[in-house]
């Protein structure tokens, strides 16, 4: 299985020390004065960005690098991309490597869309002929047929990202280095990104993916390393690493913080009033069931209504949602002043941490929000030896609706 030839990236004891000037020595005068003072080293403070990192990436692997901000993961990616030189240690890569630290490298706002495609293409290693061959596909994918002869500065940011992404996916590399910044943008664009990731997986490309989005890591990666404080903490399967990563945050959450949190804000057109949200429990020491009870009052007559809850983790990512429409429960013809109660019950299969619940009430068209209550309730999970990760599924959930007769 693990043939030596399968290894396409081998990182061997890589360390990186940045020398950060205290007072930047960038005039010739200061160079001379420092030489005379004989205190050259005093003006540079070494900062260890990476320490003795070693790992191997095999051909066809989707390899994740996770870590918190400032942990050194982006520096590692830049060293893999040969943008930075390691202070010690070595890196070997086999095959053509294309980095996507950012989309649209080299884009110039004064050039037209067409000219930028050629420029960006050249940066990614395409000859003029190769860009010409792919030009039609690029424009079509970006959906910018009408705009290619306009200057880039007249593009909306969404159009720019679309164009850049369309060029980027043409790159036929053996190894791709992808920074998480790629997956920012509107939902539509994120979907395109993730479709592209699936395509890469299907084509068996080697991908190194830097992220702190555990959802994406678990969906795509085969193998993950966790970088913390410049060091490689652990290498393993996405499931294990993402738990370890979540636990790192838990340590820093104190229960007091939860108590102090106040219910968040409500918004919407006010046709429905969410009167209260209750939880079966706000702290769990065993993995049982959670029930979210929602009391609503119709301010005006409402024909159709969907009620839903979303569970969010500490960083505010809604990773679980459940609503009445999903369960084929229709709530219709509410008279003005009518009250109803909706109960959502789902088995808790969560890693330890603090969670918040959003409650929303909208029409069949999601854009028609009657009322949305951000951070309506909080609960925490603190189970000894908890091995589950975020893993809630709508399948096992129960939803019930009761109209309160008056």
């Amino acid at each position: 299985m693990s043939d030596e030839n399968d290894v396409v990236i081998s990182v061997d004891n890589v360390s990186k020390v940045f020398r950060l000037p205290h007072e930047r020595q960038s005039t010739i005068k200061s160079m001379f004065t420092n030489v005379f003072k004989g205190t050259g080293s005093k003006y540079y403070e070494p900062q260890q960005a990476l320490k003795d990192i070693s790992f191997e990436v095999k051909k066809g692997e989707f390899f994740g690098i996770v870590g918190r901000n400032g942990s050194g993961k982006s520096t590692l990616l830049k060293i893999l991309a040969e943008i930075y030189q390691p202070t010690s240690g070595s890196i070997e890569t086999k095959g053509k490597l294309v980095p996507f630290i950012e989309l649209g490298v080299g884009f110039n706002p004064e050039l037209t869309g067409r000219e930028n495609v050629y420029l960006n293409g050249a940066m990614l290693g395409f000859s003029k002929e190769e860009v010409e061959q792919r030009y039609g596909k690029i424009v079509e994918f970006a959906e910018l047929e009408q705009h290619m002869d306009q200057k880039l500065k007249n593009y909306s940011s969404g159009m720019q990202v679309r164009l850049a992404f369309s060029v980027a996916i043409q790159a036929d590399a053996d190894i791709l280095l992808i920074d998480e910044v790629l997956a920012v943008g509107d939902a539509d664009f994120q979907k395109k990104c993730y479709d592209y990731f699936y395509l890469l997986k299907k084509q068996n490309k080697t991908v190194v993916f830097v992220s702190h989005d555990m959802g994406a890591i678990r969906s795509y990666c085969d193998e993950v390393v966790l970088i913390e404080q410049s060091e490689l903490q652990q290498q393993g399967k996405p499931r294990d690493i993402s738990q370890l990563y979540s636990k790192m945050f838990l340590k820093e959450d104190t229960p007091q913080q939860v108590a102090e949190q106040t219910p968040g804000r409500k918004w919407g057109n006010g046709v429905i009033n969410i009167q209260s949200v209750s939880l079966a429990s706000d702290s769990f020491s065993t993995l049982s069931e959670q029930t979210v009870g929602v009391s609503l009052k119709a301010v005006e007559k409402v024909n159709d209504m969907v009620v839903g809850v979303a569970v969010k983790n500490k960083s505010g990512d809604a990773f679980y949602g459940l609503n009445t429409a999903e369960k084929n429960i229709s709530i219709s013809n509410c008279r003005s002043g009518e009250e109803l109660t909706v109960k959502f019950t789902f088995p808790l299969n969560l890693s330890n941490g603090n969670y918040t619940v959003d409650v929303a009430c909208h029409g069949l068209d999601v854009g028609n929000v009657y009322e949305w209550w951000n951070d309506a309730a909080h609960f925490s999970v603190n189970v000894p030896e908890n091995n589950s990760s975020y893993n809630l599924s709508a399948k096992n959930a129960k939803v019930s609706v009761a109209k309160n007769k008056k």
């Binding site: 991309a81 630290i101 000219e115 000859s127």
Partner: protein
Amino acid sequence: MIETIKQRYRYPSLLLRQLVKTDFQLRYHGSTLGYLWTLIRPLAIFAILYVVFAKFLRVGDAVPFYAVYLLLGIMLWNYFVEVTSGSVEAIVGKGELLRKINFPKYIVVLTGSVSATINLLINSVVLTGFMLFLGADPSLSAVVVVPLLFAELFVFSLGVGFLLSALFVRFRDVQYIWEVVLQGAFYATPILYPLSFVPEAGAKILMLNPIAQIIQDARRVLITPESVTIADVYGNAVARLVPLAIVIVVSITAAIYFRKRSRFFAEEV
């Protein structure tokens, strides 16, 4: 063997081609006359200098075909200025790019130099027109000598450019120093005046400057045999080896320094 070389230089060469193209697309961007400025600018400077030095100061009276003599000097000098002062900020100006993708850094400096060379060749056509119109006394050896001189100028300018661009990453004074050096060198090079205006001892020093040697040699073969070259000043053709040696030493030093530093450009700019 050839395949390997082709493969190795595939990325640098396609990048160079695209960057030169972009450079031309962006230059004189938004100006009505656009690319024509490449021709108008040196001609306008030439016109001013010509009026001042030929008509008022009468410097040109001692030189046959002074107008084309002056134009040639300005063209070659401007080339040197364009390449070197453009190089100073070449690397630092591309800092954003350097931090996002790894590519051969020398391409950035080379791009400026290639663009300037294309401009020089276009200006040469204009110069030829002036020579036909105003008259000149070129020698047949120009066919061989001029390309060699252009090559020397290309290498020297590029070498200085590499050195300046790499130094500027660490020492931001370089920009101001170089401005002053160029201003001084403009007068220390026989561009406006014939070398006969300078005392012999001074001429011996001035002519060691490769740019002075190139300009005077070019004038000798293209404009008039009366143009004084370094060989005349020293009474010995071997003297030409001194500026040539300077070119080689500067270029090799620059190449080594640039190569060594370029690995760290991304984190230092």
